[in-house]
C-alpha cells in the first residue's frame, strides 16, 4: 500500500485519545489485525488497556482492526477451544452489500470470471450468460445506499429491540462500519450467555422468518362465525401485523391486491369497502368482519405482503455467530479510509457517513484516477472519472486510493 495512506492512518491513531478506543471489557476480547498489503490476519492477540492498544496502532499501523464480539477467559489462546468462552455481545450487521438498492445500477458492476460477460447493478447469483458462479464485483456506495442501511438500523431499534425486546438505549452501541453499513452491538449483560440457537430466534424475529399470522390472533370463530384478529394498539408482532395490514389496505390499488390475493373479486371487494374495513380495524376492540369474506388464507397473503417493508434486512450470520470478529469502533477501514465512528442514537438521524466519518480533515492530494463513479466525500464531489489526474481534498484522495481506484501522484 502507498506509504501516504499508512502515514495518514498512523497520524489518525496518534491523535486519538484513549477514550476513543474504549470498549467494554477490552481485556477479555480477542483482537485481530490485517496489515497493509498482507493477506493473513494476525489473530489471537490481547490488550489489557486502551493505551497499549493505541501504542500498538501507532507503531504497527494496520489497515483493518477487529475485535471479538465474544468475551474469553484467555482471548490470546490460539486454539478456539482453549479460549474459554464467557459470552458475547449480540450483534446486528446491516450492510448495503445485502440490500438490492436501485442506485447500485449507477455505481456497481459485476463481471463473470468464467466467460467475461458483465453488467451493472446488484450482482446476479449466477452469471446471466453462462450460469456459473465465479463472479467478481466492483462496488461503491452512495448516499442512497447509506440512507437505506441507516433506516434499517433505526427500524431495528425503534420497531423491535426497544419495544419488543425491552432493550435499553444505554446498552446499545451503534457504529458506522467504515464502509457500506452499520453495526449494532447490544451489550445487555443478561443476553451475553445466549447460545447461537437463541440468537437465531432473535434474528428470525426481526426478519419475520417463520412468522405465522394465525398465531397472532387471526381466526374464524366456530367455523362460520366472525373473523377476529389483533388490535393495532397491541404490542409485538400482533400489533405490527394489524398496523401493516391497515397501512397496506389504505394505500393499495386493485392490481397490486389482485396479484397478492390471487383473486380479482376478492381484490375488488376489498377496494370497494376500503373505508368500512379500515374503520373496523381501528375500532377498539377491532372488528375484522369487513375481511371475513376474503378468507383467512388470502388474509394471510395480504399480511405477508404488507409486512415486507417492516422486516429488518440484517446479515443474520453475524447475529448467530457467538465468536465473530467485528471492526473495532473508531478504527479506520482500510478499504475506504473512513472511520468506524461510534454514534449515539440521537445523532444517528442526521449522521452523514461521507462527511461525519471522514478522518482526514485538511490538505489536498494529487491522484491519478483509473475509474470511479460519482463520489462525494465531505462537501467535495467528483466523477464519474476515468484515467485522469486530479487534485482533490486529502480525504477524498485517500478514499479513492483505498478503494483501489486511484494512486497518488507527486
Amino acid at each position: 500500500m502507498h506509504s501516504i495512506v499508512v502515514d495518514e492512518f498512523r497520524n489518525y491513531y496518534s491523535q486519538l485519545g484513549s477514550k476513543d478506543l474504549e470498549v467494554t471489557d477490552l481485556a477479555c476480547r480477542e483482537l485481530a489485525f490485517l496489515q497493509f498489503g498482507e493477506q493473513m490476519m494476525i489473530r489471537h492477540t490481547r490488550f489489557l488497556d486502551e493505551v497499549s492498544l493505541r501504542d500498538h496502532l501507532i507503531h504497527k499501523t494496520p489497515a483493518h482492526l477487529y475485535y471479538s464480539s465474544a468475551y474469553y477467559k484467555e482471548p490470546q489462546a490460539p486454539d478456539m477451544n482453549r479460549k474459554g468462552w464467557l459470552g458475547a455481545d449480540l450483534v446486528f450487521d446491516v450492510d448495503a452489500d445485502h440490500i438490492p438498492t436501485t442506485c447500485k445500477a449507477d455505481h456497481d458492476r459485476w463481471r463473470c470470471l468464467e466467460c467475461g460477460s458483465e453488467g451493472a447493478g446488484f450482482p446476479p447469483e449466477s452469471c446471466l450468460s453462462c450460469g456459473r458462479k465465479r463472479i467478481e464485483t466492483t462496488t461503491w456506495v452512495c448516499e442512497k445506499c447509506l440512507d437505506v442501511t441507516k433506516n434499517e438500523v433505526l427500524k431495528l431499534l425503534d420497531e423491535y429491540l426497544i419495544p419488543d425486546f425491552g432493550i435499553s438505549l444505554n446498552d446499545v452501541e451503534i457504529c458506522f462500519s467504515g464502509h457500506r453499513g452499520y453495526h449494532l452491538h447490544v451489550l445487555t449483560e443478561s443476553l451475553r450467555g445466549l447460545a447461537s440457537d437463541g440468537r437465531r430466534e432473535i434474528a428470525d424475529y426481526v426478519r419475520g422468518i417463520g412468522l405465522d399470522q394465525r398465531l397472532h390472533g387471526f381466526m374464524v370463530l366456530n367455523r362460520n362465525g366472525p373473523l377476529i384478529g389483533p388490535d393495532i394498539r397491541d404490542g409485538g408482532w400482533r400489533g405490527r401485523i394489524a398496523r401493516s395490514i391497515y397501512a397496506y389496505i389504505s394505500r393499495c390499488n386493485v392490481e397490486d391486491l389482485r396479484a397478492v390475493v390471487g383473486s380479482g373479486s376478492a381484490a375488488d371487494t376489498i377496494c370497494r369497502n376500503k373505508d368500512r374495513i379500515l374503520g373496523g380495524i381501528t375500532k377498539s376492540p377491532p372488528s375484522w368482519v369487513g375481511l371475513r369474506g376474503v378468507g383467512i388464507e388470502r388474509l394471510n397473503r395480504i399480511a405477508g405482503a404488507s409486512i415486507k417493508d417492516i422486516l429488518c434486512n440484517i446479515d443474520e450470520r453475524v447475529t448467530l455467530d457467538t465468536k465473530r470478529l467485528i471492526r473495532y469502533p473508531n478504527s479506520l477501514h482500510g478499504k475506504s479510509g473512513l472511520k468506524a465512528s461510534r454514534i449515539t442514537y440521537n445523532d444517528l438521524e442526521k449522521f452523514d457517513p461521507l462527511r461525519d466519518a471522514v478522518a482526514f480533515k485538511d490538505g489536498e492530494i494529487k491522484v491519478y484516477v483509473r475509474e470511479a463513479p460519482r463520489v462525494r466525500i465531505g462537501n467535495h464531489e467528483i466523477g464519474p472519472l476515468k484515467n485522469v489526474e486530479v487534485v482533490v481534498p486529502k480525504a477524498l484522495g485517500i478514499y479513492l486510493i483505498c478503494k483501489g481506484a486511484a494512486e497518488p501522484r507527486s
Binding site: G131, P163, D164, F165, G166, I167, S190, L191, G193, L194, A195, D197, G198, R200, E201, I202, D204, Y205, G208, I209, G210, L211, D212, L215, H216, G217, M219, I228, P230, D234, G235, G236, W237, R238, E316
Partner: protein, 356 residues
C-alpha cells in the same frame, strides 16, 4: 414459601440441596443399613426411568424422597451410559411437568426463581380467549424454547413485549421441565461427574439395575443400521427427494443437505448420484466431484454433516413437523431414532414394496 413437600416434588431446587446438606451426610454414609429405604427408593427411580415407566412422587415420606433424589442421580451418572442418563433426565422432566402444570402461580414463580434463577412474573393478558397468565424474560425463554420445534414455540410467533414472553401455565411448565432435563444431561459432561464411581458399598443394591443396563444397552449403543432405511428419512429429506424426482432444480442449500444426509447415513456416492439424474442441468462429472468432496474423499477430507433443523428451518427446507420432529434438533437424529424403532419393530415401516 416452599414447603418440604415442594422439595420432594422438585428436588432440583437449591433449597432442596441445602435441606440435604443440613443432614451432613455423605454419599457413602447412605450405604449404612438405617438408610436402606432411601437407597431402595433411589434404585427404584433409576430402574423405572430405564424401563420408561412413569415416576410418581411419593408424598407419604417427603424426607426419603428428597434424600433419594441426589442418590438416584449419582447412580444414573455412575452407570456410565449416555442413554441411561438421558432416560433418567427425561423421566424426571416428565414427572416435573405433570406437577408444575397443576401448581399455583406463586409457587411456580418460586420454583422458577429458586431452581433456575428465572424472572417469571404473573401476568394478566387475555387475547382471543387465550389466557397468558405468565411472562418470562426473553433470555430465559431462549435458553430452552429453541429445542422445541413447532411453529408455536418460535419466538417470532410469541407475544413478546418489553423483553417478556407471554406464556400459558402449561407452557411455563414445559419450559421448566425441559430445563430440568437439560441440567441433568449437561452435568454429565463435567469433569467430576465423569470421574465419579459409585462406591462399592452400594454394589448389592445396584446389581439388578446393572444387569438391566447391560441387557438394554446392547440394543441402545448399537449404531444405526448400515445402508439406507427408506422409511426412516425425515420429512425435510423426503421433500427434497421428491423435488429431485420431479426434476426441479434445487437451491444450493437443498443440494448440500440431501448430499450430506445421504453420505452420513452410509449411502455410497453412486447411489447419491442417481438421485440427481432427473434434474435438468445434471452434469455427472461435476456432480460426482461435489459429492465426493462432501464425502471427504477429495479436497479438505473433512466429512460434512447436514445442517441442523434450525438452519433448515431458516432456509425454508423444514417441511411439516411431526411428533418425532418435535423431539429432534437434527435430521440425522430423526433418522437414527426412526431407524432403530423400525429395526425394533416398534414402528411398522410404511409403504411396503417398491415398484421397479
Amino acid at each position: 414459601m416452599l414447603t418440604r413437600e415442594d422439595l420432594a416434588k422438585y428436588p432440583f431446587l437449591r433449597k432442596a440441596s441445602s435441606f440435604i446438606e443440613g443432614y451432613g451426610l455423605t454419599l457413602r454414609d447412605l450405604a449404612a443399613p438405617e438408610y436402606s429405604g432411601i437407597v431402595r427408593r433411589a434404585v427404584e427411580r433409576v430402574r423405572d426411568s430405564i424401563e420408561g415407566r412413569r415416576i410418581v412422587t411419593d408424598w407419604k415420606d417427603p424426607e426419603t424422597e428428597i434424600l433419594a433424589y441426589p442418590l438416584a442421580l449419582a447412580f444414573a451418572y455412575g452407570l456410565k451410559a449416555g442413554w441411561v442418563i438421558r432416560r433418567f433426565a427425561t423421566a424426571e422432566s416428565k414427572r416435573c411437568y405433570e406437577l408444575l402444570k397443576m401448581e399455583d402461580g406463586q409457587r411456580l414463580i418460586e420454583v422458577a426463581e429458586d431452581g433456575f434463577g428465572w424472572r417469571l412474573e404473573q401476568n394478566d393478558v387475555n387475547v382471543e380467549g387465550r389466557r397468558f397468565d405468565f411472562a418470562l424474560g426473553v433470555t430465559e425463554y431462549l435458553e430452552v424454547a429453541p429445542q422445541f420445534h413447532s411453529a408455536n414455540w418460535k419466538l417470532v410467533n410469541r407475544y413478546l413485549l418489553r423483553g417478556r414472553v407471554h406464556l400459558k401455565q402449561s407452557e411455563v411448565a414445559r419450559l421448566l421441565s425441559e430445563s430440568v432435563k437439560n441440567k441433568i444431561v449437561k452435568r454429565a459432561a463435567a469433569e467430576e461427574v465423569r470421574r465419579f464411581e459409585v462406591p462399592e458399598a452400594f454394589g448389592l443394591y445396584l446389581e439388578e439395575v446393572r444387569r438391566l443396563v447391560e441387557k438394554k444397552g446392547r440394543f441402545y449403543d448399537e449404531e444405526a443400521p448400515v445402508g439406507l432405511v427408506e422409511e426412516a428419512k425425515p420429512p425435510c429429506i423426503m421433500a427434497i427427494i421428491s423435488d429431485l424426482a420431479a426434476g426441479k432444480s434445487l437451491s444450493h442449500m437443498a443440494r448440500f443437505t440431501i448430499t450430506t444426509f445421504m453420505i452420513n447415513v452410509g449411502e455410497n456416492v453412486d447411489n447419491v448420484l442417481k438421485l440427481f439424474r432427473s434434474v435438468a442441468d445434471f452434469d455427472e462429472g461435476k456432480a460426482r466431484y461435489q459429492i465426493e468432496h462432501i464425502a471427504g474423499r477429495i479436497g479438505s477430507r473433512t466429512k460434512y454433516a447436514p445442517p441442523k433443523c434450525d438452519v433448515l428451518r431458516s432456509f425454508g427446507l423444514c417441511v411439516g413437523v411431526n411428533a418425532l420432529c418435535e423431539r429432534v434438533r437434527h435430521p440425522l437424529q430423526y433418522y437414527k431414532i426412526r431407524a432403530r424403532e423400525i429395526a425394533r419393530g416398534a414402528v411398522r415401516a410404511r409403504g411396503g414394496r417398491k415398484v421397479a
